[in-house]
Amino acid sequence: MSDVSRRDVLRRLALVLTATGTLDRVAAAEVHQLAAQGAGGYTPRSMTEHQFKTLERLTDLIIPVENGAPGAVAAGWAQWIDAISSENDQLKTIYRDGLTWLDTTMKERGAAEFLTATAAQQTTLLDQIAYRRNQTPALAPGITFFNWARRMTVDAFYTSAIGIKDVDYRGNAPMASYPPPAESIAYALKKSSL
């Protein structure tokens, strides 16, 4: 990871941690651990530095910082995708081709590349490739690629301590007995008209 992007990550982490104040301890530890990895210098294993930064931006758009809770970049999920892809030729090809497609398409639209395009240009493209209904021969590779990137970013985020907290999973806790709350059952029955 370059000095600039490391500073960037640390700055964002600081923002996130300050904003939340009460970030879950496990989540905080996870963020710190990733920050430490970043500070140690992350070198992409399956893609170029430029492709990696493009992927980081993409994951940031997929799972953004929200109400002060960390998003994909703060949590380092581009690193996870890169690491998994480095062991899997099929994924490596998917990301290499897909990230190249983003740049090529942006160039056709007058920007230098995806990473340096304006936020508006980036979201305009994503608003097209994030939906199957926009399928055209020109957009098809983008739609397929975005599906992969979205799926893996979602997996990475929601298997992290931050993501598990985000969906409010309450299990994995020992209980002496198992009584599901009556109010939950009553709610489901009422809404289902059963």
Binding site: P64, L126, A130, Y158, V167
Partner: protein, 593 residues
Amino acid sequence: MTQPASSTVHDVIVIGSGAGGGTMTKVLADLGISVLLLEAGPMLSMGDLKEHMLPYHVPHRGAGARGQAYTGGSTGFTYSATFGGAQLEGEPYTVAPGSDFSWFRSRILGGRTNHYGRITLRFADYDFRPRSTDGLGTDWPITYDDLAPYYDKAETFIGVTGTVEKIRSAPDGIFQTPAALRAHDVLVQRSCAKLGIRAIPGRQAVITKTTNGRPACHYCGQCGRGCMTASNYASSYVQIFPAMKTGKVQIIANAMARELITDDSGKVTAVSYIDKTTGSERQVRCRTVVLSASACESARLLLNSKSSRHPQGLANSSGTVGRYLTDTVGSSLGAFVPALVGMPRYNSDGYGTHLYVPWFGLEKQKALGFPRGYHIEVGGGYGMPGIGSFTGIVNRHEGYGVKMKQAIRDEYGTTVSLSGRGEMIPNDKSFCEIDPEVKDRWGIPVLRFHWEWSDHELNQVRHMQETFRAILEGMGGQIAANTGGRGGRGGVPTTTASPTAAGATPPAPLAQARPPISRGGAIIHEVGAVRMGNDPKTSPINKFCQAHEVKNLFVADGAPFVSNPDKNPTHTIVALAWRTAEYLAEELRKGNV
């Protein structure tokens, strides 16, 4: 080179330590008989169990170190102590052209019982008499009444949840109080009731009160990873570890049985095995031997024990070893249930299935267009997030950013899935045999599988899909496309290779297309292959699971099954092994073997 056998002659050698071998070991040890247990995998220790691990405790989060969850291939057992899978390094099997079969092998003390679904169902009275009932298959040489006392013993010792219901297709047993139904269970139960179908509390090998020194379940929901408090059944920690305390049990781990050695009288005198840690071949002597290696491994061992006296393999004059192989018929369907959106959040972990639907079509079977039944297992709730947990929601909503995150929060835990588990009828095209060429890394000839589903199974799956649809839609569920046909095994990720395919194709009309049926072997209920029977010409073993031709050879796993009813096989493997163990002990005492 084979090392000479030690001079010790063991009373009983048990090969394999799963449900059959574990039960055999426990019952014989309790009767004061010494057992030498051979296991092809390593020992297990309770410290190996990782049931409370969260996905972020492993770098790949459960996707597999090489991302196999995304591009195909087994991700292995990240969170569970089971070592095994369809692909084992150096231990291939082959599948005949035109067949499709997957063979899951476990290699660890306790075998597949460390991770299986713990569904514990007695066979019904009619299940032992299939031919008498509808003219198909073969009747068992024993009846429900022969096995009932052993179901009783197994339930008392192991601990099984359930309620007395008086349903013929689901005989009652000795039950512990089940856990309460969860919200999605209640919806399924009510929706079934509207269709005239009874859904009843799940029968799980989970204890809800302290039993034989084992503490009650703590409801963490991760039964499939093995239980560090031994509050569910696995042969390792429920039977073998306690049996070891009797001083009667000796275990050789990493011992891959290769061949049974016989003398001039045709009796087994020794077992030859590969010590996997050194690759050398060794022999151990025995008075009696029990094959509990899993249905197909037990058949393989017999077929590979060839000699001039037994040119077709041991105990195989009938030529039926490897034949009558069946698996459970599997099919599933899931739906998004809007009634669960916004439900006050709670911990829905519990244990396994809290609700199941026993076969409900027995009375009208003849009118249904398929001869045998199925039961339905219910899935749902706010499971521990993992790889692929939210792929369905994301495919439905698409998009990205804050809106997508909100959709995930809203719809987490709103999917309800139904999995059918049906009876397959043995057929001539589904069997295993020795591959004439391929050998494993130790030079042991491997199995070749042949497989074909018949219309009996395909029509049954069509009926399953129609029933699932009616139940799910009856609770307001919206059927997700292309969710059918998967095995739906708990704890094992079953992700598809292409995310673009998800949600793209509407389900085909049920009556025409090939219905979404599981691959042969995929439900991991493969049984048969060394079936019981009274006639030595059509069955290798008798009604006590003793070889007709080799009096000191017994089989105690799924291999003796004559049919494969819609009840998961483990409970019957345990009950049958228990009965065989008592018979074997008595024959030893009398000096008959």
